[in-house]
Amino acid sequence: MKRLGLARGLVAVATLAILAGACTGTASPGASGGGAKAYSIGFSNPGGVGNGWREAMLCSAKAEAVKTGEVTKVTIIHHDTDANGQLADIRSLIAQGVSAIIINPADPDALNPGIAEALAAKIPVVAVDASVTAPGAYNLSNDQVQYAYLGASWLFKALGGTGDVVYMRGIAGHPADTDRDTGFKKALSENPGIKVVKEVATKWDPATATTQINDILSSGLKFDGIWTSGVDSTIVDALKTAKHPFVPIVGADNAGFVNQLLNETGLKGAAVTNPPSVGGAGVKLATQILDGKPPSATTVHVTPELWDNTTDAGKASLKAAADPKINPLWPLGLTIKDWTDYSKDEVIACKGPGE
């Protein structure tokens, strides 16, 4: 009787095996292309599922991979996890034998063991959006210190150098958030009349940020300006819903926010550029390294710009950037000069090699 149970168990396993085998038979990709160069790129993004910026970053990587003509496959691991989970992702990309790994790092130091293992296996690693401290890894990102400094300086100037500010950060511990904090604090030290009356971590999640601003509004806290780390249009929406008068606000170059800056009467604000196309630029950098033509420095910084709606030059930049085709939660900086080769339509289509 017991033996019968065991036999059933084994039959069940065998059935599963056949089923699984059948599944993989249909799903296995035609990996190797005909050309001499057939790189496969692994991309690990450990957070921001549902965040337009992260989605755009991954689409940019796919579109650039197609344009290089040297990449046959992009394996994207995109889920909300911590540094420990991202380490597991990096290790599974190494086990898969990808040619290069691109990461949006969850932590500047914690991934170093996995990065070292990749480099030991001759797999170059490019960190985009934020930096890692591992020796030998390439860092390609927006200058996040400057990003925060530009926006905060504009805001403090718009307030005339005195006032109470709400400081809405990103993910606590994320290297980009830490760098932005450095830039924000630098601007703060230059404006002694400014006081931070509330500091929150939005996790770059629109839903979290909405709850936080509603809590602030209902607490009756008095504030004269808001600095956001990129979750911006939802804050403007919350102010409108609560019938709270607009205060000067700083955000990123997200389509919805730029639209509000151009069309909401009485809203004063500035958008600071933070191109998600670092994803595509990372792919280009990785293929350059694989081709044996690495850049001279291991750190590549993109310089951010500030577009405000209080000057004519700023308004012109906002108008030039606005594009109704783009999802309101997506950023507008979908290309970077010299670093991306695809068109705006191609990144919106979001198709990788072989898709």
């Binding site: 009787m1 017991k2 033996r3 149970g5 065991l6 059933r8 168990g9 084994l10 069940a12 396993v13 065998a14 599963l16 095996a17 699984a20 085998g21 993989t24 799903a27 296995s28 990709p29 599922v49 394996t75 994207i76 691991i77 995109h78 889920h79 996890t81 911590d82 540094a83 420990n84 989970g85 380490l87 597991a88 992702d89 290790r91 599974s92 190494i94 086990a95 898969q96 034998g97 932590d107 130091d109 914690a110 991934l111 170093n112 063991p113 293992e117 296996a121 606590a172 511990g173 830490t178």
Partner: protein, 334 residues
């Protein structure tokens, strides 16, 4: 000489019989090993160059999850459930990383022992609260999961701290052969040194007894309340080992709990531990963690969205549990 051959022959028969009888007693484990082999084969099919580095990645990646699954298995076998495993991991990881940062190797040994003691204490508090208040396990441990996670965030807001190099080296890389990851060796040593002697002792018997039938255990003279606290303390101990594995893996600690609680429950269910208590072991859950890991990376290799991957995992889990209860039903019938 003939006597020696005879003895050898007899021993061989003895071993063979032991193996067959073990196989008959543990069809679930055999099925899981079969499943593991199947998924290794699938992985090899998907990625022809999957080999030693992949096995090493598996060894180190599953270590925290496997220890969390062992922690959960012990308390569920004893008739409870602990929803604070992930939070206890975060708290013990944070405490160990903060204390270890910039300290000597010797001091780090003290920190590791202290962290394990902290794990036992956290678990014992969980158990004592359940015994003292008579509030259901699931409610107490859910509430305590917020408490432990909150304490971790009070200690550090952002990932930080450090780890002693020897601790990081303990779980990283291979041992002797490139096919034997240190992470798996550490896991085997920990389970072998703590769980196996425990299971064979009266204490282990009592844990199974209170999980299987609390009243009968009480009537047989088992100190039911004390055993409940002991079972939670053991879960705390393994949770702190899992927390140390997190610290050792990344070299620092995050105060935000990872997805370990629910994954530990998934692993014990797939690993053949009865949620009603009294039945199961820790080998099944460890194998289940490895199977779930392989399923996840296979889905990555195929290129399925990892968020859809969790859906697939859930479906597989329900399927396995249904299959298990179906087989159990068939076995009960004459």
């Amino acid at each position: 000489m003939s006597a020696a051959t005879e003895a050898l022959g007899r021993r061989r028969v003895g071993v063979g019989e032991a193996v067959t009888s073990w196989i008959r007693r543990s069809p679930w484990i055999v099925a899981l090993i079969g499943l593991l082999v199947v998924f290794f084969a699938i992985t090899k099919m998907l990625v022809p160059n999957y080999g030693a580095p992949g096995v090493q990645a598996l060894g180190i990646s599953i270590l925290p999850n496997a220890l969390a699954a062992v922690a959960q298995a012990i308390v569920v076998i004893s008739g409870g459930i602990d929803l604070s495993v992930g939070s206890m991991m975060a708290l013990t990881s944070v405490v160990s990383a903060v204390l270890m940062k910039g300290q000597s190797d010797i001091f780090a040994v003290g920190v590791v022992l202290g962290t394990l003691a902290l794990g036992v204490l956290l678990g014992a508090i969980n158990g004592a609260l359940i015994v003292a208040t008579r509030v259901p396990d699931i409610v107490v441990t859910l509430a305590m999961s917020f408490v432990w996670a909150g304490v971790a965030l009070l200690i550090i807001h952002t990932p930080g701290g450090g780890a002693a190099p020897w601790l990081m080296e303990t779980i990283r890389g291979p041992l002797v052969s490139e096919w034997i990851p240190r992470g798996l060796v550490v896991l085997a040593v920990l389970v072998g040194a703590i769980w196996i002697p425990l299971r064979r002792s009266n204490l282990g018997l009592s844990l199974f007894a209170i999980g299987s039938n609390r009243l009968a255990a009480f009537r047989s003279g088992v100190p039911v309340d004390r055993m409940k606290i002991v079972s939670y303390a053991l879960t705390g101990l393994f949770s702190s080992l899992a927390g140390l594995a997190l610290t050792a893996n990344t070299g620092n600690a995050s105060p935000v709990p990872g997805p370990y609680t629910l994954e530990s429950i998934a692993a014990i269910v797939l690993g053949g531990v009865s949620l009603a208590g009294g039945r199961g072991g820790v080998v099944g859950p460890i194998l289940a963690v490895a199977v779930l890991y392989l399923i996840r990376i296979d889905l990555q290799f195929i290129g399925i969205n990892p968020n859809f991957g969790t859906v697939v995992q859930g479906v597989i889990l329900i399927g396995v549990v249904m299959l298990g209860s179906f087989l159990a039903l068939r076995r009960v019938r004459p």
